[in-house]
Symmetry: C2
Subunit: 527 residues, 2 copies
């Protein structure tokens, strides 16, 4: 196993921080985990951003094969960390080893998928409008467009996915795939996991002969180092997954820079589920079982956890609630990621309990950090009347909203904020109501599901993990799936350049066999 | 000719404003032009945004053929306005009729080009990851992605392109092509031109049976109505072309909303031109002639006017300056768009004259509103030492910077702010120097030209009229060319939806014959 050093890893070098130390803590036992981690002073961050800026040019011009091989190399080295990585991540997060193993597969699978995109190259967005010297009244000059990387990206790790939304997670993988160096700010809840993964990235950088500034891992106290990173003139974009307050603070800093930069912050979502009447014609127990599993899995600490479920009034809905109640009552709390997250969860549940009836409550899990899952229930009129009931509670809590008829449901849907997901449970007899809901949900959410549950985010070409504000700070993209790569690119047009001076992607000979849009018509590459 | 009413045109109805009136003024003669235009009070703007919100749903789901026919219909009706439009625009702007005629062709050509994109449909970004029920360890569900319109867009007209960057200009055309209704805030320098074009759009809306809220034209006093529009909750994005101060004020308002929205503001650019030594081996007089034409055309009031030109020291460079001096000295001022713009130009030139030597100055044109073109000259060390020399002067002024050697040139390039364009004049012997400059210019500009002049922006698929801040507020896109349509779209994923509930773009039968990315592989449509 790679030995943990407890230091930042800046452009391939271990750097001891001068702003104190932190310890990881086992959320299950409260035990402090070695080694202590030294924290950078804000002045020390510039070493990472300067190295990233130096690496940016050569990294942006890598040939597709070498670029893709590097991403594959990162994935291989993360796999090679073996059980040591799974054990450390489980220790630091309290998440079960099976969950971590699955998350590792998602993380390395994502890197390899992105490598395939880099190899293929459609994300480079090549467009060529050839010269038309005989055009009247004016001849047309040759114009070619491609997308170039934005430059160094600051990425903030999330606590709840120590691999898939952390050091080599979606934001890092998509920035690296775009050709942008990454300065990664570790989440202090899993510093050892971060160091292991960062070591794997640094090894891949060295093995593939890249500039070491392509990746740095920094540890910092509180928000100061993160804010310094976002304000650093070398940084050209930010990826963030976390709280709304944290995301908005980063957005403000990015907008206040002399040269503002884009921020992709994934912040908060209650992921409404609309159970239409016909969905209760079938196996209501199975539906409730799946609901409770989606609410309580990973202790509810998932961005797409179903926090609000609309259930029709009537006998079938009552049966759904009865099974839900029984299952939640039987459920034991699972260890949460940090004592702070558990505390916020308890506060949220307490506030909600003063505004809505508790439908069901499980039992506390082992240790002091595994609160009992809770489901509340309210009428849709109460739900509409009380803004606070639409707030996210991060963890195993959910709110059942009972409704009467289509109008109540569409009215409620209209009032919901921007979301990562919206789900419809339906049977064929519900199609008219679903068709009325869909245009509303399309305006509110990045992903719309039918007859499933929103937890479990597939990494593919078609996934959207994003959505209108406040789910994210930028609805025009996704933080999961291959479209995420395009967040870190911008178009540049080249007019009348000699072929020898054009970037390879645009040369007449098409040396990278890219798909090109020529005069508006796609000419598939990959020959 | 369509009679001018002097009122806003909100969802097909003439609406008299209650906040006073304004008059267009002939910049050539100072004459007030009839009719007077009534100005909306901020409270009256909601009628336009409410109608746009109502129109948004049905407009977003138009079939491609009907959608494209509408855009073609707008173009046809603008053409049908005939000479009346050219005359009114020339009268209100002082621009020559030939320039207006060319601009009209660009405007209607752009609408027809965008209609072809709508018909073809690649901008919908369809991606399908089919279900894989046998995948281990977990089966994969069917996920499909398409892009949907953001919703109503506020567009601000620019003074310098009364057609191509105004009522039915690039921002309006791309928003309408994306499926977004538009509320257009007229520039008060050409209200009659705006009303004529708006009437053509409203006629096309009626003729094609669309919701009248798809387009509204509003006149307002000062910035209040514009700011109210940007703050209006129904508005989902903003397109703006104008000054840096105006653009940044809009960005601030958009960011301060409870739900922030994207702003595409095209603001300022000095469009540096790098004359490399070899470019002076050839016909220096022709090069200088083209330079002066690009500086003075349209009275220099073009976003891409070459405001800074780097010329090597030495005999050949001296000859370039000599011809430039002769041509500028001979040039007469052309009427500027408004007295205010002429005043700002004079102030800018006065400031520059206190910091740099005047190389050449032409003569004043007719009237009080056609100042003499000016070219200043400085050394590259003075240029680097004085930030104010890098400010844009909007109009017929340019700054020649004399440099010695490659290092001085790349140093200067590094110090330039974000630009719409950067141009290299070169011969084959300059390739090494150009290759060293290009990576710098790629970071600074949206469009890079060789051996041409940046004025004259081709409308096509490959054009980028955009660039890093402060050239624009969002470098990730363009405001000219078909890629501009994508500014007003966001992705939505559909997971496991019954085929009958999927939008047409995503159905198995592919009724619109769209290109689709299936499991990452492009399957061209258009069968």
């Amino acid at each position: 196993m790679t030995a943990l050093t407890g230091h930042s890893l800046i452009a391939g070098e271990r750097v001891a921080g001068t702003a104190g130390t932190t310890h990881a803590v086992s959320p299950a036992t409260g035990e402090r985990l070695d080694p202590p981690y030294t924290l950078l002073d804000v002045d020390q961050v510039a070493a990472a951003t300067t190295a990233a800026a130096e690496a940016s040019g050569p990294f942006s011009t890598l040939e597709p094969a070498a670029h893709a091989a590097f991403l594959d190399g990162v994935a291989d080295r993360i796999d090679a960390l073996g059980e040591a990585l799974v054990e450390r991540a489980a220790l630091e997060t309290g998440l079960p080893a099976a969950r971590i193993t699955g998350e590792r597969a998602r993380t390395t699978g994502q890197l390899r998928l992105f490598a395939s995109v880099v190899r293929q190259g459609d994300h480079r967005g090549v467009r060529i409008d050839p010269a038309a010297p005989d055009r009247r009244p004016l001849p047309r000059v040759d114009i070619r467009q491609r997308k170039v990387p934005l430059g160094p990206v600051a990425v903030f790790g999330a606590s709840n996915f120590p691999l898939a939304f952390s050091t080599a997670g979606g934001d890092t993988a998509s920035a690296l795939a775009a050709g942008c160096p990454v300065v990664f700010k570790a989440h202090n809840a899993h510093p050892g996991t971060s160091e292991l993964v960062a070591s794997a990235i640094a090894e891949a950088i060295a093995a593939h002969g890249l500039h070491p500034g392509v990746f740095s891992l920094v540890y910092g106290p509180g928000a100061a180092v993160g804010q310094a990173l976002v304000a650093d003139p070398a940084i050209q974009a930010v990826g963030f997954t976390g709280s709304r307050a944290g995301g908005l603070a980063i957005v403000r800093t990015a907008q206040a820079r002399p040269t503002p930069i884009p921020v992709y912050a994934e912040m908060s979502s209650v992921n409404p589920v609309f159970v239409l009447p016909g969905a209760l014609d079938g196996d209501v127990d199975a539906l409730a079982t799946a609901y409770v599993a989606s609410v309580t899995g990973s202790s509810g600490q998932l961005c797409t956890q179903p926090g609000v479920v609309f259930v029709p009034r009537g006998d079938a809905g009552d049966r759904f609630l009865a099974t839900t109640t029984r299952l939640v009552d039987e459920a034991a709390g699972q260890v949460m990621l940090t004592p702070g997250i558990a505390r916020s969860w308890r506060e949220g549940v307490e506030t909600r309990s003063s505004r809505a009836a508790v439908l069901a409550r499980g039992s506390e899990g082992p240790g002091g950090n595994a609160p009992a899952p809770v489901v509340h229930a309210v009428s849709s009129s109460d739900f509409l009347a009380d803004d606070a009931l639409r707030d996210e509670i991060f963890g195993a809590a959910s709110l059942v909203v009972r409704y009467d008829g289509a109008d109540e449901l569409t009215t409620a849907a209209e009032r919901i904020e921007g979301q990562l997901t919206a789900t419809i449970q339906l049977a064929e007899r519900d199609h008219a109501l679903a068709a009325a809901l869909l245009p509303v949900l399309e305006r509110k959410a990045g992903r719309i599901l039918a007859n499933g549950w929103p937890t479990g985010v597939e990494v593919g070409h078609a996934m959207v993990h994003g959505g209108p504000f406040p789910a994210t700070s930028d609805s025009r993209t996704t933080s999961v799936g291959t479209l995420a790569i395009e967040r870190f690119l911008r178009p540049v047009a080249y007019q009348n350049l000699p072929d020898a001076l054009l970037p390879a992607a645009l040369r007449d000979a098409n040396p990278w066999n890219l798909t090109r849009r020529v005069d508006g018509v796609l000419q598939p590459g990959g020959a």
